[in-house]
């Protein structure tokens, strides 16, 4: 936050300077070729100086150039020409004329973090005076928690003109953070009181400074003001800790939904059919690679629709994993029904083969699966916790898959057959159920759901040959804890483990949290040897 303050100070100081003295003479020279040349060719210090001058001119025309710098779309040709390059189209930054054809040798204008920060400040400052409300809002948001005394005139100026309530509120908060350091007692108290409604993490830091000591003396000599600050701090902290709590529950839910997705397929293949499918993790991996494959197809053949590749990837992932699952069932697993522990060995062999096959086909390295644009970013709640869209989507997706599976098992003929065959194979066969075909379909369904999980997981983490290995143990834990043969148990176990894990993690660190969860599972199984939801009646003895 502090560095933002620094950059802000610099940029806004320049604005103020402009407002007071330099504006008349500089305005005419806005976007002068010299400044643009400095920005493109100068050393970092020169670049920053040029930025200051650009901001001082307060010319919104500079915004596109600055944005292009951030996006890495500015190039130089020769030692004079500065180009804005978008794809194959280029315009001259100085004249605005279209440049075609593109010069042969061009160099990127590269900026580092320091310059990038200054540009961000300059952009925010330029936006404060923009006519568009959304632009102004973005500008003032960027200023939150990063304001400094030098900015006071600019903020006051903006406040005087601003009519929008939300922007006014934010501007007032910004003013308050600046006035914390005021020499006037009444102003300080007013500022501290105003800050009580702030949602920003940095407010806490600012208030803590007021309450802190400098050497032996209080930073704030006035006891009343300290009391006020204490009050404001408590109110800010209260809201921050609520935000933290919301964030933690959310991350627990998110981890839980990941576990649930990973385990759901297993709940069918293992839970209902009794196949200890050690290749389950690899079916997840196959789903992720199918997603990768579809993504590449979109990139090559339909780049315009790239953001919606996931829609096509879902059925592809399902189909790929389901197909492999059905082949597995037909060629290996069907000969091993009733010998559950031996399916473990055979499927372990299959998993080795699948891993190595993927390694041979796609390489041992991870492959890149890009999030669609609509999945990046997130909703900010209480300023200090961001709920990423990708995780929200995955929680929703887990719920959707769950509903689908539930409907399929309880409301369709196939579901009826599956349940019939798993409960009493001979009786089902006697009643005319094609048991062997049902087995194949059920296994394909479970595998396909693993594929869907892979598609979802590809949006969160690695896609590599070892992807499945990291989920297999967790998946089994979830299914066993929930109770074999019970979808509801799997749901409770998945979400419960996710949330418990996240709360323990905050308290004891990552490793101990995981160990604690494992120990809990071991102890829990002692109490309820059949899991959370045990099958009742004669079935239980099987």
């Amino acid at each position: 936050m502090l560095m933002r303050a620094l950059s802000m100070r610099r940029a806004v100081a320049a604005v103020i300077l402009a407002l007071t003295t330099l504006l008349p003479c500089l305005a005419a020279r806005a976007m002068s070729p010299e400044l643009i040349h400095e920005l493109a060719f100068g050393e970092n210090d020169a670049k920053i100086k040029a930025l200051g001058a650009l901001v001082a001119a307060d010319d919104p025309k500079a915004l596109p150039l600055l944005q292009a710098l951030v996006d890495g779309e500015v190039q130089t040709a020769g030692n004079r020409q500065v180009l804005l390059v978008k794809g194959d189209n280029a315009t001259d930054a100085v004249t605005g004329a279209v440049v075609a054809p593109l010069p042969e040798s061009r160099d990127d204008v590269v900026i580092n973090n320091r310059v990038r920060r200054e540009i961000a400040g300059a952009i925010a400052a330029l936006k404060l005076a923009a006519p568009d409300r959304a632009v102004r809002l973005a500008g003032v948001k960027a200023l939150q928690g990063g304001a400094d005394e030098d900015m006071l005139p600019a903020v006051k100026h903006a406040l005087a003109k601003e009519s929008d309530a939300e922007i006014r509120g934010l501007l007032e908060l910004t003013r308050a953070t600046i006035q914390l350091g005021s020499s006037d007692r009444a102003t300080r108290i007013a500022a501290i009181r105003a800050l009580a409604v702030s949602n920003d993490v940095s407010t806490k830091t600012l208030l803590l400074v007021v309450l802190g000591k400098k050497g032996d003396a209080w930073a704030e000599p006035d006891g009343d003001i300290r009391a006020e600050a204490e009050k404001s701090l408590r109110s800010v902290e209260g809201r921050l800790s609520t935000g933290e709590m919301v964030g933690r529950v959310f991350s627990g839910l998110s981890l839980g939904s990941v576990l649930l997705l990973a385990a759901l397929g297993l709940a069918i293949t293992y839970g209902l059919m009794g196949v200890i499918n050690m290749a389950h993790g690899e079916l997840i991996m196959v789903g992720a690679y199918a997603t990768y494959f579809v993504q590449n197809l979109f990139r090559s053949y339909a780049p315009a629709a790239f953001d919606w590749y996931l829609v096509a990837a879902l059925p592809a992932a399902f189909a790929a994993s389901a197909l492999i699952g059905m082949v597995m069932e037909r060629t290996v697993i069907r000969f091993l029904y009733g010998r559950p522990l031996e399916t473990l060995l055979a499927t372990w062999g299959i998993s080795l083969i699948l891993i190595q096959a993927v390694r041979t086909l796609f390489g041992a390295q991870n492959v890149q699966v890009e999030n669609p644009v609509w999945m990046s970013g997130g909703i900010t709640v209480f300023a200090n916790s961001v709920l990423p869209y990708s995780r929200i989507v995955i929680i929703g997706f887990a719920a959707a898959v769950l509903t689908m599976v539930w409907l399929l098992l309880t409301r369709t003929r196939l579901g009826l057959f599956v349940r019939g065959v798993t409960q009493n194979r001979q009786m089902a066969a006697a009643l005319g159920v094609p048991t062997s075909r049902v087995d194949t379909f059920a296994f394909g369904l479970g595998s396909g759901i693993a594929g869907l999980a892979g598609c979802a997981l590809s949006q969160l983490g690695n896609v590599g040959p070892d992807l499945g290995q990291s989920y297999i143990v967790d998946s089994f834990m979830v299914v066993v804890l929930g109770g074999v043969g019970q979808l509801a148990g799997t749901v409770y176990a998945g979400l419960g483990l996710g949330i418990a894990n996240k709360f323990l993690e905050a308290w004891s660190g990552v490793v101990l949290a995981k160990i604690a969860v494992l120990v809990f599972i071991i102890v829990f199984i002692q109490k309820r040897p059949q899991g959370l939801f045990a099958l009742k009646g004669r079935m239980a003895e099987g």
């Binding site: 936050m1 502090l2 560095m3 933002r4 970092n44 890495g72 590269v110 580092n112 973090n113 320091r114 990038r116 920060r117 993490v201 940095s202 806490k204 830091t205 933290e244 933690r248 991350s251 998110s254 981890l255 990941v258 891993i355 190595q356 390694r359 041979t360 086909l361 390489g363 041992a364 390295q365 991870n366 492959v367 890149q368 699966v369 890009e370 999030n371 990046s376 970013g377 997130g378 900010t380 200090n384 916790s385 961001v386 990423p388 990708s390 995780r391 969160l460 983490g461 690695n462 590599g464 040959p465 070892d466 290995q469 990291s470 996240k502 993690e505 905050a506 990552v510 490793v511 995981k514």
Partner: protein, 422 residues
């Protein structure tokens, strides 16, 4: 019964076939020199190590095409230690005693190196280790062509504390819980203290191997960063980097707010990541693919051609990285040393290695130190760009001598900067 007899015959014939196979392996005379490659091609480390095997094969092919070493062709023995540490030791012994290789190029993790080290010392073998590591080791039988901490970690911190790097005042030392991050962070903490940073401004955190859920950690970093200008020093290993970076992007922690400098993230690691949200995060290495110099152009082209010719996975987007460069330097230096010593005998090659130089793809001439078995290498700091490459924002004026015994660790001032005589 029938089936059983059939299977028995099958097993028998398979056994016979294998026996035949072993017998027909051509007996190669003394006109070749055997070299071993000991990189995991399966298991968790395959993701990083496979490409080093291919780099080594490429360099050896190049040497053979130019007439080999002392007029003899190099013959490669590739084994797969499968990311299994005891298997590393077994395979090392096999390479040295059974295959009688003159030299082994291999290992990535510290634990694999520690596992094979006693074998190399016992049998007086020769190992070239191409990865940046924690230092605190110096064996007569090993040449370390990766960076020691002072060739990577400390310059990165100096940069972050400088005006150009953002002037960081608080540091999160975030790593995977094993020896490299632990030792590196110990050195960095001592270094930061010497620069006047208080313990309360340093937050040290470790995650287990393969950790994939960084929600809590990133939230904690955010909270910590509220206390002042913060930088994250990441020694997160391998696979965990992707979920970590994705989470950084998700939670909107930008490089302009809290820059992350990583010591284990290179071009290969970023292959699996969408780097657009990561622009501006940093990495410190002795080589970047984006370096512009003629040697690097040749190196990159050679690799791209090799990858295409061998149809390696990922050949459509050939990438080079620091450990690949270190492997490449190592093999060439070994060749030069053998030719200087006119022998592949370990002791003679070790003696001839001292002071060897090689014009490296980094654009500088890498030199093997006369004493301490480490390379003199330049240090670069790069910022991640949207295309997955690094843009060099800072570099040392010239190659830096390695300090395997970090002066920031207590008692190391008494250590000799050369292998102990046994």
């Amino acid at each position: 019964m029938q089936r059983r007899i059939f299977i028995k015959r099958l097993v028998l014939s398979a056994a016979l076939a294998t026996a035949g196979l072993t017998a027909t392996v051509p007996v190669l005379g003394a006109d070749t020199i055997k070299v071993g490659i000991l990189h995991s091609l399966s298991g968790t480390m395959a993701i990083s190590e496979t490409v080093l095997k291919d780099t080594a094969l490429m360099a050896i092919e190049e040497i053979n095409a130019k007439g080999g070493v002392m007029g003899k062709k190099l013959e490669v023995v590739v084994v797969d230690p499968a990311s299994n540490w005891p298997l590393f030791a077994e395979k090392a012994r096999q390479l040295i005693t059974q295959d009688k290789v003159a030299v082994v190029f291999g290992c990535w993790t510290s634990v694999s190196r520690k596992s094979v080290l006693p074998v190399f010392e016992e049998l007086n073998g020769l190992l070239f280790y191409p990865v940046q590591y924690e230092g605190e080791e110096l064996s007569k039988n090993v040449f370390y062509t990766g960076a020691a901490p002072n060739q990577q970690a400390i310059p990165a911190l100096e940069y972050l504390m400088s005006k150009e790097g953002g002037g960081a005042k608080r540091f999160v030392l975030l790593g995977t819980d094993y020896v490299y991050p632990r030792t590196t962070n110990k050195i960095l903490r001592a270094f930061l203290k010497s620069k006047g940073i208080k313990d309360s401004d340093i937050d040290e955190k470790y995650t287990p191997f393969g950790h994939s859920d960084y929600q809590t950690i990133v939230a904690d970093v955010k909270k910590f960063a509220a206390g002042g200008k913060t930088a994250v020093i990441s020694t997160i290993n391998g696979d965990s980097n992707v979920p970590f970076y994705k989470e950084l992007g998700n939670q909107g922690l930008k490089a302009t707010d809290v820059p992350v400098v990583a010591f284990s993230v290179g071009e290969e690691e970023l292959r699996g990541v969408d780097t657009k949200p990561l622009v501006g995060h940093l990495a410190a290495w002795n080589y970047f693919m984006s370096l512009k110099n003629p040697t690097n152009d040749v190196f990159k082209k050679e690799w791209a051609d090799y990858a295409k010719a061998k149809k390696l996975p990922g050949a459509d987007k050939p990438l080079t990285n620091d450990p690949m460069e270190a492997t490449y330097i190592g093999i060439h230096m070994w060749k030069q040393a053998v030719e200087k010593a006119k022998s592949t005998d370990t002791d003679k090659v070790v003696a001839a290695m001292a002071g060897q130089t090689f014009k490296a793809p980094s654009g500088f001439t890498a030199k093997m130190d006369e004493k301490n078995h480490h390379l003199h290498k330049p240090v670069f700091i790069g910022e991640v760009q949207a295309n997955g490459q690094f843009n060099v924002v800072w570099k040392t004026p010239g190659p830096v001598r390695a300090q395997p015994w970090s002066p920031f660790i207590e008692g190391n001032d008494k250590k000799k900067d050369e292998p102990e005589k046994k």
